[in-house]
Amino acid sequence: MAEVKVFGAWGSPFSKRVEMGLKLKGVEYEYIEEDLKNKSTLLLKYNPVHKKIPVLVHNGKPISESLVILEYIDEAWEGPNILPKDPYERAKARFWAKFIDEKCVPPMWKACWSIGEEREKAKEEASEALKFLENEINGQKFFGGDTIGLVDIAANFIGYWFPITEEIVGLELMTQDKYPNLSKWAYEYCNCSFVKENLPPNDKLVEIFKGIIQAQPASN
């Protein structure tokens, strides 16, 4: 009998990507919440290289790195496609998922939590990156077309976590004026029932982020 476990953290967009992938395929799994300040022996055993969540364990065999896990989920189980079937479209999906992880998420996150010149530099970098995504979504409902795919799942930080964080820290980066297509996508994405059921509660995230602000030095 198939045994599927996810080692994750409730607030992590990377962790949620894996859960979304499994839910899309209708796969039942056991979820294990990790305390990131006190990682379990089991997590360190399953991901000795990076020692991070998420980790998917399928019949005792671990897979790490959220995008690698999503491709595995797509291949291992029947159900709605996470990646397209056509090789060129697959290459494009992989490209944009990687782009999100390497060029969007880091400066966007940095822009939220830094100050002064560092914040301005991160904002500029993030703005440039988001412009490319804005052009790519180009009025489509989802990056995956009519249905959610790899890039939409990968962009969960942009669709959900970032707008919440942005508001709390007072950063006006992903505005509707500057990014009408992305803003529309974010709305569609977060309100799509399947996604809505699988996101961490807004108020709990707000609480965490406000806590981070309070812990920052007084000069902020």
Binding site: V49, H58, K61, I63, S64, E65, V68, I69, E71, Y72, E75, A76, P87, Y88, R90, A91, R94, F95, K98, F99, F132
Partner: protein, 220 residues
Amino acid sequence: MADEVVLLDCYYSMFGMRARVALAEKGVEYEFREENLANKSQFLLEMNPIHKKIPVLIHNGKPICESLIIVEYIDEVWKDKSPLLPSDSYQRAQARFWADVIDKKVSVAGKGIWSTKGEDQETAKKEMIDALKLLEGELGDKRYFGGDDFGFVDVALIPFYCWFHVYETFGNFSIEENCPKLIKWAKKCMEKESVSKSLADPNKVYEFIVGMRKMYYGLE
């Protein structure tokens, strides 16, 4: 209809070499176009407007960017010969995971060794040795990372072999001393024509980097 395949590349690029090795493994005829990275062609900028980097594979007019994405594309399109990714989903996930480790650890450390000095260089050197030892552990007693057959992770890593001379000279250490099994693996790979004809001459790479160090980093 005959396939039209163009590779925008740069002789010294280990990322470009990945594409060359993959194409050679599949016996694909293609046009190699050398780019001058100090003066990028308009065509390159059109084909890769987001990163403006090589390699770019252009298949019947459609561009694919990012070396590992290119290799997967090549594997999927020319699937009847020399499969690079394993057929088992779990093994595929492991191959993707380790290719990502190479990008995150080897590539970054490598650049640090030849473009920095003092403490930064020492850190990069240590990170390189750690990364190569980690990979050597993953190789184990297998002939290739792919097992009996040359595969995806082998393609991802082997191009760095022609850069070892650069790392060893500027970092003042011996990779063979630290990772003898890895060197044995590399020499095995070099027996394959697809590899030996695709990799750059280590002495030419060295001369190129001597020039780069002077011009861009003020290092002798």
